[in-house]
């Protein structure tokens, strides 16, 4: 029986800590500036979704890339966070905006 081969497997796994890329491209990117450079935990592999950076300009519409739910501790995002230690922010981020953390 033929086995389906994923030529572009997900780069990250649930439970992995990642860092959001710090870059400032022009165009229709969906990664807010406040979260760039922050470290968070992958909580869900959401599968592949159409890359909005290409879709917005009609390039390769239908090109799908990996997409994750990433959870951040609020105290890691905002120095002055005035809430509980357990408070979190969850946000969806495309794989081209995530970097592995090299210990």
């Amino acid at each position: 029986m033929p086995v389906a081969v994923e030529h572009n497997p997900a780069k990250f796994k649930v439970g992995e800590t990642v860092e959001v890329s710090v870059k400032f491209p022009l165009g229709h990117y969906r990664t807010p500036t406040y979260i760039r450079g922050k470290k968070g935990l992958i909580t869900k592999d959401l599968g592949k979704y159409i890359n909005p950076e290409q879709e917005a300009f009609g390039k390769n519409a239908g090109d799908k890339i990996w997409y994750y739910m990433v959870s951040f501790s609020q105290k890691d995002i905002w120095e002055q966070y005035n809430g509980e230690d357990t408070d979190k922010l969850e946000i969806e981020i495309f794989e081209n905006w995530l970097e592995p953390i090299n210990n």
């Binding site: 807010p32 905002w78 809430g83 408070d87 979190k88 946000i91 495309f94």
Partner: protein, 208 residues
């Protein structure tokens, strides 16, 4: 011609007083070009507006109350919002993934779109104006407890708050807690407690 219109009030003609803005002109230009090239028909635009306007928080209320009263449906709704909504006759008409966030006694969710105005329109209709305001979008992520307090919602320190920033393909709705003391409520009574804002997470269902 005899003028029979003799009453005294002023009949000023109805005119467009303001000049159309940049984005209005841009929208008209693009729409007319698309129609001219037969990529869309004027009826498509009208139909889409009609579809958007046909949705309202009533649909969300029905989902929440069904989830409160039917544990198997609750499980399906949390697992795959699109399929569960379609089961209730609600089509998710765009390419988004409807994601339901389950509140727990020690966990409260609140949704925002810091980049624009992503909102579960298929389920809740158009977002309120404040949801699109820069104030809400910037402050909800940074000081959710203060924003909640301004909405009159005091979340105890012992309850964790997760703020969900909707950025591209997912659309969130909060599944709030069923208030205690509603054990004998009918579905209709329960629906009245589930207002739009309880499904955004800026307030919680309460018995008055």
């Amino acid at each position: 011609m005899e003028n029979q219109h003799t009453h005294p009030h002023d009949h000023s003609p109805i005119v467009q007083e303001e000049k159309p803005g940049y984005y209005e002109i841009l929208e008209i230009s693009i729409r007319e070009l698309l129609v001219e090239r037969e990529l869309i028909a004027p009826d498509d635009v009208r139909k889409q507006i009609e579809l958007l306007d046909s949705r309202s928080p009533v649909l969300g209320q029905k989902l929440v109350v069904r989830a409160w009263t039917d544990p198997a449906f609750r499980e399906r709704l949390l697992k795959n919002g699109n399929i569960a909504a379609e089961e209730m006759g609600i089509t998710i008409y765009d390419e988004t993934t409807f994601t339901v966030l389950e509140d727990k006694p020690d966990l409260h969710h609140m949704i925002v779109c810091t980049l624009c105005s992503c909102y579960p329109r298929a389920i809740l209709g158009l977002p309120p104006d404040w949801y699109k305001s820069k104030q809400y979008r910037s402050r909800a992520v940074k000081e959710p407890r203060a924003v909640l307090a301004e909405f009159g919602t005091l979340i105890p320190d012992s309850v964790q708050i997760i703020i969900n920033d909707s950025t591209a393909s997912l659309r969130y709705m909060v599944l709030p807690l069923r208030p205690p003391g509603t054990e004998n409520y009918t579905a209709e009574d329960l629906e009245k407690l589930v207002t739009r804002d309880t499904m955004i997470g800026v307030t919680i269902p309460r018995i008055n």
